[in-house]
Symmetry: C2
Subunit: 388 residues, 2 copies
């Protein structure tokens, strides 16, 4: 064994010092975040020359807090109170520059914002963790998009056992749509889809299902870094997301999935849900093709109903199409919104419209705003209500 | 359209200012890196309060260079000479703290080191780019490991068309192993496996094949962030990588793949290759199970041949087993190493040993050291030589 320890040390040393070798850190600079037994959390940054360091994160009441120099080279911040069970994201701001925590390799991207994540154990985060349960498979596939005449990338979750050689079972499908600026990576990384579905299915709380996460921005064929324009760093202005073409491309995607996966290819085994702009797409697609989806989920949705001026036939005759959709009695039309969400009033208004027209739906109001915390929670709730 | 632009602006504003909404950047702070037409590259960091900023990267002769304040808030560095076609990685060091470039969302992780990447177009990087060719599927699967009595995570590349409903073709399989400290994410992210294979297959230079990238560290079931120990930030000491158990677990993995994928389940349709420690594993596994693999690739391999003191039967009787392997005449035994690699002398020595024993092999010497640049190139070369 000694020889191997020697070898490992040699590897480390060489990796760090010799320029001809890959320059690597084998250990993080310090321990950060440290989650204490009482659920307070300490963040640390080794930055001897910094003048001011703060931590920004979705667990801080003000969204930010100053870090304090506790040793000549070390900045620290400990939350004054225990944190509730949740998956949190954060970053540091060092002398005005937002940086990720060099001691935490769990990094996620949201549009062009990189953040670190950590999980505080407990009931709320139970479903967001990789637990010792059967795991599904997560695939990045390319499928032909007739509208763009191009191949596009999508993320697919297939439940545990799907790929087993002797499995001939067919599965229902949930189509899950991201928000403006997101892409086919958003739900699987920030939304913890694989963990949520693995855990719900293992506990018998959700039916085993396939989850399809396409890219809803028709200006992209794939998430940044995965498309042919590999050199171009995206500066997202207004993505081509609400011109009707994405909605029109959807039946082809459904056909592709039904052809290439062992699906139950019928309305009562298909669900569609989306967050924010994806909720808008969900609303538009489900009413445009009222025979495709029996389960509809609007998560903090942008529920603008009169967008005819965009000039797509998809946005014409909204109320008429909505009536046609509800005349076919969808098994579930589920609307969830946080009380602090800037889209809250619009969602309340939309529900009133549905009420006036006796369109049967469920309305869920939660704390919080237009945030991933809510979208993970909504998915967890919605997934338990479908295909039953 | 106006209404949508308004909506988008509203989204941005709200995302940035209201703490109840997801705090996002919708545009990068500046343009970085900028790859000029003459293949010089400019890096930029907006950091008004920084005292010293440098760029570190594998394209810099010294491994680092000072950035210069060109505007009150902007630091810049432009390479003095055009860069050769390649995929490069870099980071900034701001007042002693290594950070990724906030303007570049292409981030990769190597052990615990986060870096940005960029591609300079040309012949060398041709195969590393997402091109407009048919794309394979990349899946993260979990398979049962008998040795650990646990499920373990692996990355699988299946070539374009593999999943098409009418496809009954069977494919050869390349098993591709990472280095010490790496995991099942290393080859697919840093090694650009999907891009290299997609491009080689599209050009008819490689046979369509399945590529299996398992995790070679028996202390982990999955890469950091994907295992059940979600809260634990890895501080990698000596991974449990060279105690013989990984090698012993390999036939079970091969059996699992042959059972669950449409493989050609025979020696002449199986290849194994690995980098650094993965090269060591490749050497050990291929000689331990001489009927499994007809094609063997050692990329910058750690070719220690007398490691009996570790106490695993896998490392016993090395020469005898090697003789047995070569008596069965493997179709290809391919060794590649950079002249500046710290493992260069050991590889030359190993080749001399093979020569002395008339064990037929190929030996490729390249420029450079123990670096991903070489491993991507070795994969590209090796993939063209197998299953033919």
């Amino acid at each position: 064994m000694k020889r191997f320890i020697f070898l490992a040390v040699l590897f480390c040393a060489l990796h760090l010092t010799v320029s001809a070798q890959e320059a690597l850190w084998w250990k993080t600079p310090t321990t950060s975040p440290e989650i204490h037994d009482d659920r307070r959390v300490t963040f640390r940054l080794v930055a001897p020359q910094a003048k001011h360091v703060e931590v920004v994160g979705d667990f801080l009441p003000e969204g930010r807090a100053d870090m304090r120099k506790t040793q000549p080279n070390l900045w620290e911040y400990t939350t004054p109170v225990p944190l509730h069970s949740e998956l949190y994201s954060y970053a540091f701001v060092m002398d005005g520059v937002r940086i990720t925590d060099p001691s935490n390799v769990y990094v996620t991207r949201d549009v062009v914002t990189m953040s670190n994540i950590f999980i505080v154990n407990g009931p709320r985060s139970h479903y967001y963790q990789e637990r010792d349960v059967p795991h599904g498979t997560v695939s990045r596939i390319w499928y032909p998009c007739d509208q763009l005449q191009k191949m596009r990338r999508a993320t697919i979750y297939t439940p545990a056992g799907y790929g087993a050689s002797n499995n001939t079972m067919r599965y229902p499908v949930l189509y899950l749509l991201h928000g403006m600026g997101g892409d086919e990576e958003a739900w699987i990384t920030l939304g913890r889809v694989a963990q949520i579905m693995d855990n719900l299915i293992a506990e018998g709380k959700a039916k085993p299902m396939i989850v399809v996460m396409p890219n809803g921005n028709m200006d992209q064929v794939a998430a940044p870094g995965y498309g042919p324009d590999g050199n171009v760093v995206p500066t997202i202005e207004l993505p081509r997301t609400c011109d009707g073409t994405y909605e029109q491309s959807f039946p082809n995607l459904v056909r592709f999935i039904d052809r290439n996966y062992r699906t139950l290819p019928r309305k009562n085994s298909r669900a569609i849900a989306g967050l924010s702009m994806g909720g808008f797409h969900t609303m538009m697609i489900s009413k445009e093709y009222p025979d495709l989806f029996d389960y509809v989920g609007l998560f903090s949705a942008s529920v603008k109903k009169d967008v005819g001026e965009v000039g797509s036939p998809v946005y014409d005759r909204f109320h008429e199409k909505l009536r046609a959709q509800f005349a076919k009695r969808p098994a579930l039309y589920w609307i969830a919104i946080g009380k602090d969400d800037f889209l809250y009033p619009a969602n309340v208004e939309f529900c009133e419209l549905l009420d006036r027209n006796r369109h049967r739906h469920e309305f869920i109001e939660t704390e919080g705003g237009h945030i991933w915390k809510n979208w993970r929670f909504y998915l967890k709730e919605f997934a338990q209500k479908i295909f039953k």
